[in-house]
Amino acid sequence: MKDTIFKLLENKKIAKNTYECTLVGDTSHISASGQFVNLKLDGFYLRRPISVCNVEGDKLTLIYKVVGQGTEQMASMKGGEEILTLTGLGNGYNLEKSGDKPLLVGGGAGVPPMFLLCRKLISEGKKPTVILGFGSKDEVFYENEFKELGASVIVTTVDGSYGVKGFVTDAFCMVEYTYVYTCGPEPMLKAVYNKSTTSGQYSFEERMGCGFGACMGCSCKTKYGNKRICKDGPVLEKEEIIW
């Protein structure tokens, strides 16, 4: 964990209510995909936790959805602005159990952490398939970016306006896989949990106070005891999850 200042290079809209921002700063404390950073925004008391989409050298890419006042303000930030950022938070994904053909399932704002994970898996010689789930065609992002990494990509939309019609789990029949990595809204995680036939790692979201394990605001019960989503998570093993 490190509290450090990042400089915003670019902040652009890439889909409906969805923004991609590129920051430059000390990324050395980000050790795994699936981790997050906590941003201090002017005028807001608590920081905003955003998952890491990509890290290359001193460049950090975050993708966020405008869902409230904080992210609304973030959307108006301009290149050159400085943001105090607590980095290297959360446990992140463990790559060791992936097998040769891991399945990566991201839903909406749960898509971004799949990107760094996918890059890392491919660099280790794995052959990941990525299912990206969205509500509608205008929300779709990063399909090409995942393809450029060399992954097989399936896009699903709930209304059928793009790709496979339905939920991410409706595309499971098209894939052979050895392990599941997923991030998305809780109903989606639960559907993936029920549909998938292998073990996996599930990244959860919860309203946080501090983001580094001090306040116990984001606790959840697991089969391995109480865990703090921000510190002991956000990634939980399939075997420990209690719905």
Partner: protein
Amino acid sequence: MVSLKTNLCGIELDNPLIPASGTFGFGYEFAQIYDINCLGTFSFKGTTKEPRFGNPTPRIAECERGMINSVGLQNPGVDKVIEQELPKLRKCFFKPVMANVSGFSVEDYVYTCERLDKMDNIGWFEVNVSCPNVHGGGMSFGTSPEAAAEVTRAVKAVTTKPVIVKLSPNVTDIVSIAKACEEAGADGISLINTLLGMRIDLKTKKPVVANKMGGFSGPAIKPVALRMVYQVYDAVKIPIVGGGGVSTAEDVIEMMLAGASAVEVGAANLVDPYACKKIIEDLPRVMEKYNITNLKDIIGGAH
């Protein structure tokens, strides 16, 4: 050279800074990012007789200049605290620590304090009387002078360490409760705990936290805390631990002028994990600015 030293119930503190219970765990998370021995002491996570998961999530809501929490005293219970948490704490913090204790009956407080009193690295008890009394119709111990005094007397009877009673601000007359605790034998008064508050989500049109209400803390509550510390200082002779919205060295000085011998920092730790370290490092500069040589000399200076 300025002196930051202060004294709390007979124990000397290198400086008045005390991270407040519930914002600092058992210290070791923070010890990974700085040497927490720079602190005066810290008040560890509120400990109860039985293990508690606490309230359902979401438990956090943001406010203007503050936050609401409804964590609900999540802790592993006193036996696990002694077995697992205190050994880890001992490895990173070498000063006497403050044991924050909660209970839902007088017997709960007695059980927990009796066990913790045997731990030699505990310097003080901070008895949180803001919890509901399950045998008293659910009313918080801290809202009645008699109930607060009853807890104080019972804890004093089974402990050897100084007992500081942490009061709830959600009362009509904080002074009468502080006096009742002093008469019952309290060695100090800590105030304020969080103010009961609420936020409502305009999208769902329902309260943000699952528990509907929670404790409001942060810079927004500082004027309320200062007022109560000021009032209680006038009414009691025992030392006061003042807290509520403290985030800067200036806030520490203001709280001591109101009457605090030591100062708790709560919500600020959650926004900036280095908050207490920064305040301690900044104190000499701010003291010089306001011509203060000995921090101890300004306690109650506003009276």
